[in-house]
Symmetry: C2
C-alpha cells in the first residue's frame, strides 16, 4: 500500500513548516486582519464594513499530467478554481486574478493554451485577469516543465464574512460533488495508477469552479450558511479548519468517481479520505432547511445532497459503514 | 559576445506573449481598474477615493545562485523587494504579502531560511505576511531546486495615484542606487561570469526595498513626483513604461557596481542597458526642486542624484558618452 508520504509528499512536514511560518508571520500586523473561516483567505479591511480577501495557490503535480498528455488548455482552469474556491469559503466574491507562469523556455503554443485555461477560469468565476508574471528560468525547469501559481482577490462585507464561529452540533453538512480528483493528491495518484492516456485523461478533468452557484446561495440564504469548506489538500480534514469545537458524521456520502476506486486499490482508506476529495469538492454547513439550497445548486448542474451532520465530538470525523475516523 | 537571448531568455518572445495575454485579458472588466503608471500594479478601486494595488513577481534564476552557495536567507528579501518596489511605482503603500514556495522535497532548514528572508523583507517594507502556499512537487523540481513567487497588495488613494500622465520634457530624472544586480538578468550574468564563490556572493546581494524612503518622499512631495520606475526586467527600458510621449537623456549616471563591469566584458553595451539596472534600481521623475528629495533619500542611506532629464523624443533614451540609444 502507498501513502502520500511514500509518493514524496510529506503533509506533516509541510504542516509543521506552516506552523513555524505562522508563528513568525504573526509578529506583525496580523491583528489588523479579520478572521475568515479556516484561514482559506486573508481578510484585510479597507473600511469599517468592507474588506478584501486574498489567497494564493498552485495546481501541484497535476502539471505533470498535462505535460504527459500534451494538453495544456485546462490546467489554467484548475489554477483559477483552486484560488476562487478558497475565496468563497470566507464569503468573498472573487474579483481579481493574477498568474505566475515560470518555465525553462517559453513555448508559444503551450503558454497560449495555459493562458486560455486561465482566461476561461476567470470568465467562469467572474474575475478580472488583472496581471501576471511570465518568467523564463533556464536551469530551474527542465524540458517542457513549468510551474503555475495563482493569486486571487475577492471582496466581502463584514456582515457577510463567514467565520465558522456559528457552527453548532446538529447543523447539516451539504456535500457538493467534485468533477474528479481536482488538484490534490496527484503525486500519490500518479504513483499508483497506470500511466495510460485514459487514466491520465480522467486525472486531468478540470476542477469545478463553485463560485457562481455559491454566490447565488449566499445571496439568498445569508445567515443560514455557517461554514464552507473547499475540500482541497488534506481531503476531508479540511472540515476541521472551520471550527475546532465540533466534529462531523458523514452518513450519506456522494458517489465516488471511478478514479478514486482505482486509487483505493493501492492506498489505505484513511489515507484516501485525508488526501482526496472522494467525490465531494465543497461542503456547506447549513442551519435550517437544506432543500432550497440543494435546489439552487442543482440548477447550476451541481450534484449536491445532505451528506451528514455536525457533531459534538471536537475535531473528529466519522463515516458511516467505514472504519475510518479522521482526527484533527 | 553573449546576449540575454543566448543565455536562454528571449525577452521579445515573452513580450509578444504578454501582448497576446493582455489582449485576451482586456475583454472582461479591465475598464473597472484605475490606470497606474507603467502597469507596475493593477489598481482596483474599493470606493470612490480608495483602491488596492496588486502585483506578482518572482526572483528568476537568482534562485540558482542561492542554491549554488547554499545560502537561502536573502532570496526572500529579493522576492518581497521585487513586488514592493513595483507597488510604489503607482504610489501605493505596500500592505499585504503572500508567498508561493514550490519545491521537489521540502527541506526544513532551507525552507526556514527562505521564510526568514521573506519575513525580513515584509518587516522592511511594512507588509503583513498574510498567507502563502507551500507545495511539494516531486518530479517538477529536481534536487534542491525550488521556485518562489510573491504577491503583494498595497493601498492608494485616488488623489495620490501616480499615472505618469503629467510627465513632461524638462522634468528631472532622479536615479536611486541599486545594491548590485538585484533580481534581473541573472541567467545572462551566470552564463558569462566565473562561477566562483566571490562572484556568486556579489550576485546574491539582496535587492534594495525602496518602499519606506519613497513613502517619506511621497508624503512630503506629493504632486512633484510625476513618475516612478522600478528598474526591473528590461533594464532602463522600464522608463518607457511611464509615458509613451516622452524620452529621456541620462547625462550623469550613477556609479556602476564592479559586477556590471565584469559582465560588460562579455555583453554588448546596449544589451547591458536593456537587461540590467546598471547601478540604478529606481528612477523618480520630478517636477521642481530635486535637492530636498535627494536629501530625504540620502537620510535613508540611499545614494541618489539627478541623472538626467525628460526629453521630447518619444520612447527614446540616450546616454551621455555612450553610443547606446534605447528605443521603445
Amino acid at each position: 500500500m502507498e501513502t502520500y508520504s511514500s509518493a514524496g509528499v510529506n503533509v506533516e512536514r509541510a504542516d509543521r513548516f506552516v506552523e513555524r511560518l505562522k508563528a513568525r508571520a504573526r509578529r506583525s500586523g496580523h491583528d489588523d486582519l479579520w478572521r475568515g473561516a479556516g484561514g482559506y483567505a486573508a481578510v484585510y479591511p479597507v473600511s469599517e464594513s468592507e474588506a478584501v480577501a486574498v489567497t494564493t495557490d498552485g495546481v501541484g503535480t497535476k502539471l505533470l499530467v498535462a505535460c504527459a498528455l500534451g494538453q495544456y488548455d485546462t490546467i489554467g482552469i484548475d489554477l483559477v478554481a483552486m484560488c476562487a474556491n478558497d475565496l468563497i469559503c470566507v464569503g468573498a466574491t472573487p474579483t481579481l486574478f493574477l498568474d505566475y507562469l515560470a518555465t525553462g523556455r517559453l513555448d508559444d503554443r503551450i503558454a497560449d493554451e495555459i493562458i486560455s485555461g486561465i482566461v476561461t477560469g476567470c470568465d467562469e468565476s467572474g474575475m478580472i485577469l488583472a496581471g501576471g508574471e511570465t518568467a523564463e528560468m533556464p536551469g530551474v525547469y527542465e524540458g517542457q516543465h513549468f510551474d503555475l501559481a495563482g493569486f486571487a482577490l475577492g471582496r466581502v462585507t463584514r456582515s457577510k464574512l463567514i467565520t465558522g464561529e456559528e457552527i453548532r452540533p446538529g447543523q447539516k453538512v451539504i456535500g457538493v460533488a467534485s468533477s474528479g480528483i481536482h488538484s490534490n493528491g496527484l503525486s500519490l495518484a500518479r504513483k499508483v495508477l497506470p500511466q495510460d492516456d485514459k487514466t491520465y485523461a480522467a486525472l486531468l478533468t478540470p476542477t469545478i469552479i463553485y463560485t457562481r452557484p455559491v454566490a447565488s446561495v449566499l445571496s439568498q440564504y445569508t445567515g443560514e450558511i455557517k461554514g464552507i469548506a473547499h475540500i482541497t489538500g488534506g481531503g476531508w480534514r479540511n472540515l476541521f479548519r472551520l471550527n475546532s469545537a465540533v466534529g462531523y458524521h458523514i452518513s450519506s456520502p456522494l458517489p465516488r468517481h471511478d478514479i478514486f476506486e482505482q486509487i483505493a486499490a493501492h492506498v489505505p482508506e484513511d489515507e484516501m479520505y485525508q488526501t482526496f476529495n472522494m467525490g465531494m469538492g465543497l461542503c456547506m454547513i447549513v442551519e435550517g432547511e437544506a432543500e432550497p439550497i440543494l435546489e439552487l445548486l442543482r440548477q447550476a448542474n451541481l450534484a449536491a445532497q445532505v451528506v451528514g451532520v455536525v457533531t459534538e465530538k471536537p475535531m473528529t470525523l466519522t463515516i458511516e459503514r467505514s472504519t475510518v475516523t479522521l482526527r484533527g
